[in-house]
Assembly symmetry: D3
């Protein structure tokens, strides 16, 4: 067997040969740990005091909020610059403009926080109204993974829409790992969105979802084909206002539209549009005999 | 663009306008971090030495166990008081009684630990007997997410049954996030329960599950309707003793009973009762052509 | 109610009566925390700088890599000895040989790291080629849970193939919890493997998967029966080269072979072999009316 | 030899028999760790950014200062209440008044911080003027133990003068341990005070020191007698304005006054008053032959 | 200039050439960090709750004390074995006996803790009686460096007397650094010992000090000569019962005895014996003119 | 009383009015915490494994040493740049040159480490030879504060000699605080230097000390006058080879030379030169009556 020193050298060679190493000195990419840490800080800015044991009272709220905002701005701007560096080089853009974009975008996100809080409140109220098991807004904030996934999506979506690459995806994959709910940050989602249980939910990059939509565990809003040339094309469905989609339903295709006020039954498989006010039920007859 | 100070002020305004902030000085709710931390301590009390690198030997076991019990009692009583405060106020009950309930319930949980350990041992043995891949009880304790989810359910169920709100749900959502297994703490589950793989399993609040039941990944035991007025009604199925439910099966409705010794095939969709000793198979004929 | 001291004594009694305690002084099993910690170190050895905020530059790469390798060797050898102790006792083997195996196997793993990196690069390239949403190898490394699950499988599989019990399973269950992707470390998987979204994927112990296979969320490659006597028998399917399996498909049975270049549609249920170049579609006709 | 359990019991008996244990549930005294931690916070409030690696910029200074002030108020009030409890009980005072005093005193200290900073600046300037080795105010702040000891004295003296027991002494003993300079918090010290090197300096409880005084290492300003009945009597000397005292000098007695503008030579021993403008030299003649 | 790699190699060479490196694999010496950490644990065992913010109440005292004792036994035995290894090798003793001595000595120390607590209480009472500034036993425990130095001496002396090398000296040098009081662990010191202020106090290895002795800052009880051949000879003075020694006094020589009830004035220099009941005063006359 | 917000504003005003704040964005000075942390790293590079519980074996020594060296270079260069910034501005030097000096000096220090280790070994041997209480080099390394102070001096002196301001003084004041030994980094000290006990030792900036010098606690090598205009003049004594200076001796003045092989008795006060081979004794006659 080789000596450890020889093995170390082989590993070093494999860094040269196969890449896959994130050097600080070269084009340094963001790292997961830092991005997730700043995401948690933003989550705590949105619903302070529910996740961690911090002491919040009215006399120090201004200071602790200000500190948190500064910490978020500082850390997220640094990571955003790294994420943009790749684009700047690829598109041969001016780096100064590119870096200016990082600062501007992070500040816009902070400015957008009250709006995200308004949406988060509507999302939480939708859960309270639609789940018989929920008994207060606070219980929803404390224990509904669907709400947590939606809020992280709303943060990541804002960054993605404003031109930040990679970081939004790290954020949604973090919450995908934690909740089993996989919402692509590129999706467009309206107000008062409710996801129950959530494990296995997939919402694709070009989905458009209206207001007051409810979906359950295992629902896929996906693409009919995943050919690489479809990049940047609409390849995921549109869900109009007030639609409910029960567990395990699969709805595929960029031209598929579920009309408003429709109810989609559990486990169905849909690849063409459904008119408004429809009820799509699973055919049960011969499957349960 | 606004200055950071102005943005901080807007965020502070949004705390006033939309709530969603957990002040220490007012009705302070439990926080996730503390509840999850005490839950992990209880898990380590149930199977000591398997999760963390602590040193356990017979001469110090008494002291380390005693320390752990005191730490659990102290922390969980504090969080339980916060959880009960909300109920006390809503129901205009006497706060002293309400707080006395916190202490009493936490001590009952400690007294109940040997019984939870007896049940946990039966659950672990069920995994060992039913999974060809398992080769020892210790392997099951170390690597079966189903066992971990069941034990957390048993802890949370005890608290819920004894009147503690919110905390049981934070506990089961924590383990839902970690395992993809979503067992509502209100469900009633018998001895020797086995869940394999587990991702996507949903077991609703009013489910009743007998002894020696086995279920696989993606099984939903859910409600036919989620209308808010069904709160506190039985809306999830009953699974009798010795039933096996294969992956992806969906069983819905509060009156649906799966009779004892039945086998429910993968991916089936069941909304009415099944007599004892049935075998419900998925209809394969025309789906694979 | 009993005093706390009495309750502590009851818990101590239950350790005597029901076992389930991992004493340091007796046959001490590995613990999850340490195994997961060393696994993360190995993941960082494979793709350095992407997960954590460490400073990596060319002048110190040799030293930081050497330090990491030594730390991995030291910790993993200790845990592997614990895992092997159980086997040594059961099979009445010589402990010295058994412990020598621990050291030898861990060093072999280190020697195998460049090969795992070669495979990881191919897996990452497969994701980049097959997902329209992916725009660089670095983005795949940073945000694709499927890639992370596959790499952990490749590490765990190497250890399992070389006779290490329990630890490979702790590793794959850790990443199962994090990604919802459950790959048994015993499975055999070829090059350029791609899993998209991934939540709910189950790949059984005796699966054989060829090169260039793509699978989506909710796919089960499972056993038709889980009778204990099937232990060590091939009870999971074979997937040949260039097969694509869409979301929610279930493929069961040790004799079931999906022929090369086949496409398996979403949500299908397959329990017999499919010839090469097949397209198995879900029957949609009457379910979507 | 006894068993460990028996030894533990003997130690528990000795807690009963000899006391010396600080129970949380009874009259709980402050603890050193917490008092020293809050003292360091106050030191950082006085000269921010010199001791620790914190990030201070003008845009977040308001928030970080506000957070620090709130943290100091909260922690120091808690510890001060514990310190006052002892007095309240001994003097049979009303506890509410006593606790109100804690809050009021801590807030007074915060209000007094700008004045302490004004004095600290004068003390630092005195060091810069009097030590040939010093080249900037910042160097003095960063590396002169005398300045650190004087500032801690000024904080502790304020608390002691306002009736807080024990805590001031814990503070000055902490800095005594760190610098070898032992200033009793009861001493009265004027502006622009300079201590060089400092090891072995002792300044007693009832000392009165004027403005622009300079003292060197090993100087004792002590009592002639330490009889217990002298408690609360002036038993340490008075040093008037502009006096310099060289290394190792010992000045004792409550009636001893060193008149203004005097210079006291190294190693002298003084127990009676010295008129203004004196030069007291060590008699060298026959000691160095 | 050399490259960093070359510099690292030079440093590695200097480890070969000059030694001074503490290899884990060879004769591994104790390290300061671990010894000081276990010393702090012992200090907290002696006066629980005064140094750190731990929660101590009567119901968990047994468990927390038991845990602490086990932790001390385990860590201190490991370090003591390292310290004894050197002696075992030098004296060619049987290593098993030598290691047995480690365990036996550490258990004896634990057995001796109640006696150290009895002595510590007397030492604390001596401070309370003799210092006009002290107002309670708790204040003395919390803020008198002399008491802390004496207790550490009593712990270290017990270990040294029982044959443990190096560790006692690491302990007393730790407290020397913290208090400026340097008591050699070999010294013999009676009951009710009081050191005030303490900075600069030196008490040599073969000193013998009776009961009720009081000494002040800067007192040296030293050797007349430090010739290497005096190793293991009595070369430091004897101080009989009830003696008081004022600041800066120097008493030297192994045959020098300060008779009981004597008072030694500040800054005196004594190299021959003094009869009981003497008062040795500093000659002030011509030094203060 | 003012509100907390008003008090915070007053403190902010005092930052404006009195300075004394170390802004990150402006001329940022080094901070103590970071400088002390890197100093400890250098101390561990000099005597590895004695201070902390790290695992050192021959196979990983190269890697751990290399990592440590890189960490030291990186951190110390950053702090040195801050220290030099002040000088660059004051002297209106080119900042690039100034920063190049930082990197060059830190690398020179690393190159100088083997020489510092050679000197440290001689210093340790001097302690072993001269103290009857010492029994091995390792015991000296582990427990002699004099050796630790000398090594820190040698590190700081190298930096000071190479033009680095402030940082050397922070280093020597750290060890002054820990040992009571105050050696100015500007002093020039030969080989095989021994300080015993050490508390209260002061060695001034322009001292010159030869080889094989021994000094004891409380020795001052100081200036006769501290007038500011003496800055950069030799104002502290010269001690030639093989001189021994006993406790409490004070030697003052830039022209004072203690000739080689001389012995200076305890507590003497010297302000003029002493020829070689002298014995200066304290006059005891009339002080001890």
């Amino acid at each position: 067997m080789k000596t450890i020193d020889t093995m170390v050298d082989s590993i070093l060679d494999s860094y040269e040969n196969y890449g896959g190493i994130n050097f600080t000195e070269a084009e340094n990419f963001p790292n997961k740990e830092t991005v997730i840490s700043v995401l948690k800080d933003i989550q705590n800015l949105i619903f302070p005091g529910f996740s961690t044991a911090e002491t919040l009272d009215r006399t120090n709220l201004k200071y602790s909020t200000g500190e948190r905002v500064h910490r978020i701005v500082s850390t997220l701007t640094t990571e955003t610059k790294k994420a943009l560096l790749y684009i700047c080089k690829t598109k041969q853009q001016n780096q100064t403009n590119c870096f200016g974009l990082a600062e501007k975008t992070v500040l816009s996100l902070i400015e957008h926080i009250p709006e995200i809080r308004r949406l988060a409140k509507l999302d939480a109220e939708a859960a309270l109204e639609n789940d018989p098991a929920a008994s207060s807004i606070e219980e929803v904030i404390l224990s509904y993974p669907g709400l947590e996934a939606i809020i992280v999506y709303r943060i990541a979506h804002f960054l993605q829409k404003n031109g930040v690459p990679i970081i939004p995806r790290i954020m949604t994959e973090y919450i995908h790992g934690k909740t089993g709910i996989d919402i692509n940050p590129g999706a467009t989602i309206g107000e008062s969105f409710f996801i129950d249980h959530g494990t296995g939910v997939v919402i694709g990059e070009t989905c458009i979802i209206g207001n007051n939509v409810k979906i359950y565990q295992g629902v896929t809003l996906g693409a009919l084909s995943v050919a690489k040339e479809l990049q940047n094309k609409k390849r995921h469905p549109t869900i109009e206002d007030n639609v409910t989609i029960y567990p395990g339903a699969t709805i595929l295709g960029g031209n598929t539209v579920i009309g408003e006020n429709s109810i989609v039954g559990g486990n169905v498989w849909i690849i063409k549009s459904i008119p408004p006010n429809s009820k799509v039920k699973y055919k049960l007859a011969d499957s349960a005999d």
